[in-house]
Symmetry: none
Subunit: 201 residues, 4 copies
DNA sequence: AATGAATGAGACTTCATTCAT
DNA sequence: TATGAATGAAGTCTCATTCAT
């Protein structure tokens, strides 16, 4: 009984979140009205508020989903348990994220960037961002350690190197979305190559 | 006469923009009301609208100021006309930006990140962002070319290398603001060192 | 069979009314939501609406219960068939009401006052109030007549005297609830004494 | 400058409060919407909220006005400085209140009763009610003392006697409004006579 | 008889902007 | 230029009630 209810609940939340996601990506959190989300979700106002306490709640859930994706992608890499160069790892991770982005109709990157911006004003989103950042640092630290253990010395502390790699990924997203840069396999290949150069002694 | 009037106009605009800047940095563009800006500026509602057509105008002007700062800092480096390593250049540039950030009471980084996010929804800000991005790419391309000309081969096209350096800078800002990372000279030294490793053949 | 069903029905109504009563007393009719009543009653929304057609119905039933209590208390006095002075009668009646108030967890007086206020806007409650007022006037008229018949001349028409006694009781409730006056046996004794003085020639 | 502004402000508040007053009296606080008040006031939504922070604010101001009126009427009596019997004083006071009631289009009594009811749920209104109750007790205590000083012994402590007189007045209002009793000079004359009997030794 | 997820009208309030002075 | 009271569209959210199961 409970499981059915929980399933249903999760399904409805997903239905609403998905509608919100697209609108947030296209128009920004604050240029999207609840009325738009309600219409797009195909539910009534009351129903939406049954699953999300407030618009802020919906923003937080959206930000969480976006911020968690990078950690998820890195986790997949770790789970694969195959030693790869940092550059290759980055390329795989960006590839996975790009895939998410496309399957979300181009909504993923814009939402992520807005989540970073929302952290400025929302303590809840800020905390979420820091949590996932710590997790991502851990993921990359682990990836780099494995690389080092297979005979490739790092140019510095794993944590510092991880920060640098993550910075490149973040900057890449910004260039893609805010600066209008296109996806470009050639550049990604160069990037992968140089990332390895950056972290290697 | 006209010049005096223009000076006055510019002064008033600056007064308003400065009030808006702090509020935008603290609360975000969309959690800041015109009433707050009006109060903080010490002017009347009518006066503020005499110098800025709309809130959107004020956001655009703010975003422009933030997005232009990086280009300004890179320009200073170029003007100095002193060949520096890419890592050193990055450190100088981040130092200059940090200085701006501090003299603005910690308002610079948050505004910059929000400007990136606003580019998602505002064509005007998007265009501004792309314009300054192109300028920044030019600046860094030039810096790297000079470096190459003083006998330090690059690991790829100057433009690609510039993109990578800029990505690191952007990611660094995000980590500082959205993820709560502190200013850390040691890490910056490591970063400078590895940036050079990244772009060098 | 029908009787069993009716019992069950009455029991359920009581269960709901009791939950509503407490909430109404604490938060007022219009600051109490059906959701609160539904939760407090331990039933489902559908079930509550099976026993009360609407929230208005629930308010009316609550008001009726409160407004009827005074008539009930006066009726007990009449039934006792013992000649008492008006002051003594008032004290007995207030004592009985106080007892109801306490056994209802302090909910009785606030509900009564709100019922009077609701009569302002609800014709149904207004009619109920007038019906019970007439009944109460009758009760007190009878009480005072009996007193007169045992050799204590009244200072005016029984009905006028009854109105005055009832006014004192109503004012007393308001002072207790709206003005925060405490229960005070000494004052009640004075009151009883002076009530008799008021209605006696 | 300031005085003009304050005058204007007070005038606007009065304009809004007056519109609210009538609607509150007719439909009750919680069956009156802000939209109705806005329309009736002849102002815009924004303007109304410029003068009252919230609907609650408007309710509190209304309650204050109603609760203060009795104190005002008693104050006039005291100021007249003419020794009158308690019954006569009550009649004068009720007459004054009746006058207010009529000049307010029959709105005064219903608002007063609703204010008493609101005290049940609103701490602010409760505090206001207690404040004015204390003031009214003081007024009547003084009136009764003066009566005693002109050679008419009281039947108890002035404060107790004052409570009783006030209770009668409150009950009278309830009978007028909630129970549908009409204004009746004959009854008022009896009431005045018996009030004096009640408080006199 | 009972459930509780869903409905949607309507409530309160904000806020960017204007305009008479 | 400058003021600031006024505007009113639009926003978020609540809640009494229903109905398929």
């Amino acid at each position: 009984m409970l499981k059915v209810t929980d399933d249903h609940r999760e399904q409805r939340r997903e239905q609403i979140l998905s509608a919100a996601w697209d609108l947030f990506a296209a128009n920004g959190f604050h240029n999207t009205s609840m009325a738009q989300i309600i219409t797009a979700s195909g539910l009534s106002a009351g129903a939406v508020y049954l699953y999300f306490r407030s618009k802020e709640d919906l923003i937080v859930a959206t930000a969480e989903k976006a911020l968690g994706a990078a950690h998820g992608a890195a986790g997949e890499l770790l789970a694969a348990n195959r030693p790869v160069s940092p550059g290759e790892a980055m390329r795989l991770m960006l590839g996975r994220i790009e895939q998410l982005h496309r399957s979300a109709g181009g909504a993923f990157f814009p939402v992520a960037i807005q989540a970073w911006a929302e952290a400025v004003r929302s303590p809840v989103i800020s905390a979420t961002a820091q949590r996932f950042y710590a997790a991502l640092l851990g993921d990359w630290g682990e990836l780099l350690l494995r690389w080092q253990e297979t005979g490739h010395p790092l140019a510095g502390r794993p944590n510092d190197m991880a920060r640098m790699v993550i910075a490149v990924i973040q900057g890449y997203l910004i260039q893609r979305v805010s600066f209008g840069a296109e996806h470009d396999d050639r550049f990604l290949a160069v990037l992968a190559d140089r990332i390895t150069g950056m972290v290697s002694a």
